[in-house]
């Protein structure tokens, strides 16, 4: 029998607000443990939460970008469970009446038709702290808790069970990450856990519509790990079903070192969270006016930008795709392209030399000394024939290092290309005069001699002669001799 996987994803998106969701503590990553805390996020007796308005705004942005319907009222609810990194012993989240529902994302995989993935709901919640067990500074029978992350705002995006392959899940995650980065609501930093994904998967015989028993996969810390864990789990379930077994509903933890998913102890997930509306917080009400205000300030999203780049700058789809993968690269390109005539050349330089150099130098675009204005200057120097293509690469590297303007570098290094007609004619004439035998060879029909002449001319000019001019003048003069 052939089976079809049915996959759903739950993605936690850590918002990049300055302050926490229910208090004014900083959300900065990597601070000294337990230094970014106050009575509210520490859950001290008597303290009360107050919702950060920025979180509402960010939730609206993501809801609009994913086509979700924003509920007029949504309820903040308590999810009750005991754990040392959860100071109140409940997490403020949303359960019944979430912030937004019924959206979708379209996932594209090359060579396949687009897939529409439904979004069940988007809700806001607070993050928990971090428990430390096996670090060097933790005693043998101890666990330590860092509460800094407590109260960092999260949006949870729950998808419908619409994925049929792990690859679709991967592409969805990449796309979702791109959207939240574009929206400016998340830094997209995977190492710092800014996006975290849990998956659930079940199998069913192809052609049937009822859902099989699902398992939940946790502990994947990259999108590739999600893809791998799903592949692993689909294979595992397939083997069980093919051997006539039944799937046990359970939560599995992905072990990235060993590439296996292992069952969590039953006890740890058989929670009854006893959700109920948090009486400390009024329901969130969103009017059409509130939503429109946010909509007006939503930045251009990747798809729209891609299409615009193709239209406005006449770029091929591939270029537009690569350039819009990150809003920063797109911005860099746009700032460059607006300053030059040859848009495609700008695209080529950014996709090629620039992105490669960033990687090699392990630098971020915003730290770069070679600004879009400098790159445009460099491209204009090439366009106008002021420097040669080979010199351009040298100028580019120098500008990355020193941050000096390309024009200044060209001057300092004497890279100015000789485009003066008279000057080039003189040099060409002198080379022809010095080599009468080779001229005769050419006149007898040996075209290869042309390369020799060009080599001689370039040597005489230290490579600064404009090759196009050299070529046409040389041909013209030789043609005159043949008459």
């Amino acid at each position: 029998m052939y089976y079809e996987p049915v996959i759903g994803l739950e993605v936690h998106i850590q918002l990049n607000t300055d302050t926490k969701i229910f208090c004014s503590c900083s959300t900065l990553f990597g601070a000294v443990p337990n230094s970014q805390v106050c009575p509210v996020c520490l859950g001290m007796p008597g303290s009360l939460p107050v919702l950060n308005r920025k979180v509402m705004e960010y939730a609206v942005r993501l809801s609009l970008a994913t086509g979700c319907k924003i509920n007029n009222t949504s309820i903040l609810a308590r999810k009750n469970y005991f754990y040392p990194d959860l100071p109140k012993s409940y997490q403020i989240s949303q359960f019944e009446e979430p912030f937004a529902e019924h959206g979708e994302l379209v996932v594209k995989i090359e060579g396949q038709p687009s897939r529409r993935i439904g979004i069940t709901r988007i809700h806001m919640e607070e993050d928990a702290g971090k428990s430390l067990h096996a670090e060097s500074f933790v005693g043998k029978d101890e666990s330590l808790v860092d509460v800094n992350r407590c109260g960092v705002p999260l949006l949870e995006v729950v998808s419908d069970p619409d994925f049929r392959t792990p690859q679709e899940a991967y592409e969805y995650l990449v796309h979702l990450r791109q959207i939240v980065v574009y929206l400016g609501i998340c830094d997209g930093n995977m190492e710092e856990g800014s996006l975290r994904c849990d998956a659930n998967v079940s199998l069913r015989p192809i052609g049937t519509t009822t859902l099989g028993t699902k398992t939940e996969l946790k502990n994947m810390n990259s999108f590739r790990a999600v893809e791998k864990a799903l592949e692993y789990e689909i294979h595992r379930q397939e083997m069980i079903l093919e051997n006539g077994g039944v799937i046990e509903q359970q939560t599995l933890l992905w072990d990235a070192n060993r590439n296996v998913a292992e069952s969590m102890r039953t006890k740890e997930y058989s929670h009854d969270y006893r959700y109920f509306p948090d009486p400390d917080l009024a329901p969130i009400s969103m009017t059409a006016g509130d939503i429109e205000q946010v909509r007006a300030n939503i930045p251009e999203l990747p798809e729209a930008k891609r299409e615009r780049f193709m239209r406005q700058f006449s770029l091929p789809e591939y270029d537009a795709q690569v350039l819009t993968e990150s809003p920063k690269v797109a911005e860099y390109f746009e700032q460059t392209a607006l300053r030059v005539k040859d848009k495609k050349a700008a695209s080529n330089w950014i996709m090629g030399n620039l992105l490669r150099s960033l990687k090699e130098r392990n630098e971020h675009l915003h730290q770069l000394k070679l600004t879009p204005a400098f790159l445009a200057e460099l491209l204009t120097l090439i366009e106008q024939g002021t420097i040669s293509g080979s010199s351009a690469k040298e100028v580019f590297e120098e500008c990355l290092d020193s941050g000096k303007s390309p024009t200044l570098i060209v001057e300092e290094k004497g890279l100015l290309q000789i485009s003066d007609l008279d000057a080039i004619e003189q040099i060409v004439s002198s080379i022809i005069e010095k080599n009468p035998r080779d001229v005769q060879d050419y006149l007898n029909g040996n075209e290869k001699v042309l390369g020799f002449f060009i080599g001689q001319i370039m040597r005489a000019t230290q490579g600064k002669a404009n090759p196009k001019l050299v070529n046409s003048i040389l041909r013209k003069k030789l043609a005159l001799l043949s008459k």
Partner: protein
């Protein structure tokens, strides 16, 4: 006549007139606290701080820049936090807890130059109607020390009635200010939900809790309410509604006011002496030009059930943070995390608190949520509607506070259901978020104080004070 017998309004005149000093007043109260230690009204006393603060305020008075409540010596129910001071909630689990911050009401009162003399005893986590469940022992009624002071703000009521402080803060979740005020013969106000910030009040049931004063006169209640009410950006449930000067409602008459007597509050189970007392008061109001009408609050009989479901549900979650992990008492010699939780909570909480946590956990559990919690919320809506309907006809309601006067210590402590049922006249007010006042109204044949209750629509504290003040001054 001792100074400590006087209400704040009388004391203030003498303090501002330099007849007496705050320091002298604090010293007198401290003497009384020592003398009446058996009342068990205080859990902690800030002797040194209070004396020092009183001297500071005396200097301010000399310089003519003292605040609105200069010389008011306050007891604070031990579930309102003061920075650097112990706050136990009458529980073993918080017996070592020192708060790192001040409640909003504490900030406001300190700014108005009130003096905090100590933290008052209470039922553990405000769960009780007799102040017998405290880890620090039962509070005794100053009028008859074999009787309960009422609860849960029994320590605050006893401290005021016993002249251990000028006034005290309490909290009221289902009658916890009004019932002890009534049992001890003092004035108590439970303000409209949201009128006073809950920031720094350790929650029992967040949607019902409200801080209010217990004091010796309606005048005092108005003065204190003036200071503690108002919107607080730290409490999302506080009402963004302008405050008013409540003292402007004093010394008025009651001509033309319509006062309702809800018939469900005068049924079987009400002590005939209390009924007679309140009917006499109604007659007095009628004579003074108020119109007295009988009204009906038909869903009253469901109030107790709804209250104990909602309050315990919220409590089960509110009290989950007391787990021994970060503050409070942690059980020793535990093998693992689960044992730490179980032992700390088993040892740290008393039996009434455990009973309510279990009840609340049960009603929120999957499979039972709809039958209990959700249904109770619907009943709550119906009760609120009952009041809306009635307040379309009347200005306020006049009712008893409890079916009986103060009962004997130990009399009901082993019979939780009877204890819960004695909250019948007070819980609806919290479910509907209304303001309510408890006013002393003489005594029964045993000499025990009788209290009457006035209920009004949201934010009608002024009108309630007006009627209470009128009744108080009739005597």
């Amino acid at each position: 006549m001792q100074l400590t017998d006087l209400d704040y309004t009388s004391l203030r005149k003498r303090i501002v007139g330099r007849e007496i000093t705050c320091a002298q007043l604090v010293a007198d109260y401290l003497d009384n606290i020592r003398e009446k230690k058996p009342l068990n009204a205080f859990i902690s006393v800030f002797e040194k701080d209070a004396r020092q603060r009183a001297e500071e305020i005396d200097r301010k008075i000399s310089a003519n820049n003292a605040g609105a409540l200069a010389g008011l010596v306050l007891g604070i129910k031990d579930l309102i936090v003061l920075s650097g001071a112990p706050t136990t909630c009458g529980s073993k689990i918080l017996s070592n807890f020192i708060s790192p911050y001040d409640a909003t009401v504490i900030k406001k009162l300190a700014q108005a130059d009130a003096v905090f003399i100590g933290k008052t005893n209470m039922d553990e986590f405000a769960m009780g109607s007799s102040s017998e469940t405290s880890f620090s022992g039962a509070v005794k009624n100053p009028t008859a020390t074999d009787r309960v002071a009422g609860g849960s703000s029994g320590g605050s009521a006893a401290a005021v009635a016993g002249n251990l402080c000028t006034a005290a803060l309490g909290s009221d979740t289902g009658g916890s200010i009004r019932q002890p005020a009534s049992f001890c013969g003092v004035v108590g106000i439970k303000p409209t939900y949201g009128r006073v910030s809950r920031f720094g009040l350790i929650a029992y049931a967040s949607s019902l809790d409200q801080i209010g004063p217990l004091c010796k006169s309606v005048d005092d209640a108005a003065s204190i309410l003036n200071v503690i009410s108002g919107y607080d950006h730290l409490d999302s449930t506080s009402a963004n509604q302008p405050t008013e000067d409540y003292t402007t409602y004093l010394n008025r008459d009651v001509k033309g006011l319509i006062i309702g007597l809800p018939k469900e509050y005068y049924g079987a189970g009400l002590d005939p002496e209390i009924r007679q007392n309140i009917e006499n008061r109604a007659a007095q109001l009628g004579k003074a030009g108020a119109e007295i009408v009988e009204v009906s609050l038909p869903h009253t009989e469901y109030a107790i059930a709804a209250y104990y479901i909602i309050a315990t549900a919220e409590a089960s979650s509110n009290l989950a943070r007391f787990d021994g992990a970060r503050y409070g008492v942690r059980a020793e010699k535990v093998m693992d995390l689960e044992e730490m939780y179980v032992k700390s909570r088993t040892e740290g909480f008393g039996s009434e608190v455990k009973r309510r946590i279990m009840l609340g956990t049960y009603v929120l559990s999957s499979g039972y949520y709809d039958a209990y919690y959700r249904k109770a919320q619907k009943v709550r809506t119906l009760i609120r509607q009952d009041f809306n309907n009635v307040f379309a006809q009347v200005d306020c309601l006049l009712t008893p506070i409890a079916p009986t006067t103060a009962f004997r210590l130990g009399e009901k402590i082993d019979d939780p259901l009877t204890m819960y049922l004695s909250d019948i006249y007070t819980v609806s007010c919290n479910l509907a978020g209304l303001p309510g006042i408890a006013l002393p109204s003489g005594a029964d044949s045993h000499g025990l104080p009788i209290g009457l209750q006035l209920l009004g629509k949201p934010f009608s504290e002024g009108k309630l004070l007006q009627v209470a003040d009128f009744l108080e001054k009739l005597n």
